[in-house]
């Protein structure tokens, strides 16, 4: 694999994620759903200044554990 091709793969992923043309129930859709759910559930609510959420999310929990 050439360096140019190695660089172009992430660019292609970003391009397809931004200009979305995939149908529902495809593997690309699944990947997008998993990425969204990871953001929603793992991001500590404090980082977003969430006025309603309780708990610290997966990332917050791991950081607290490391400290």
């Amino acid at each position: 694999m050439t360096f140019g091709r190695f660089i172009s793969i992430p660019a292609l992923v970003v391009q397809h994620a931004l200009f979305w043309t995939f149908e529902r129930a495809t593997w690309q859709y699944d990947v997008m759903v998993i990425a969204i759910l990871a953001f929603v559930w793992c991001t500590p609510p404090d980082w977003l200044g969430d006025p309603m959420a309780k708990g610290q999310g997966l990332i917050g929990w791991v950081l607290a554990l490391l400290q």
């Binding site: 979305w20 593997w27 759903v33 609510p45 200044g49 309603m52």
Partner: protein, 200 residues
Amino acid sequence: MTFTGTVGAMCMFPLRTIIWFCVHLNIHPNVLTLIGVIINGLAAWYLGVGQFFTAGCLMILANIFDFIDGKVAESTALASSFGGFWDSVMDRFSDMFLLIGLIYLYAERGRVDYALITSLTLMFSMMTSYTRARAESIIKKCKVGFMERPERIVLLMIGAFTNRMSAVLWVILVLSVVTVLDRIYYTWRELRADGRQVIP
């Protein structure tokens, strides 16, 4: 089968039973649509007072009505152009109810930042639907962009049930902006490919 396809297939099983009941009770599909909007209005009230779990339960109920109306219309041969129009208009009311409930919640708690984020989410949610509707009056199809209504509603339910509404609002806002831009670009590209005038 994909993960989301499996979840969809699992949800279809109880829904088929509900559709069967509605067809046999001879309920008009437009009435089902209206019931869905009323329940969403109630869900918005619970969002506004910060009772997310109750709001989430009501959203599920409302969207069952919203989902089955089209299927009942097909099964009873009552599908009509007006039914499609009515459904689209009521969907916009449902979306607005839910997000206005959240705007009220954040405003009441003095969180101007999240009231603004929710307002922008409302604006771009409406524009997502409008750009497609307007585009499809001049080109054949404009089904690009990720954040359509089913995604928005499922995300709001997830936010309500897991108490992560702020993260959900950010996701809906960012992806709605991207979807609107996708649709504008796609329409421009299709018109240009057709050899139709894009710039006067």
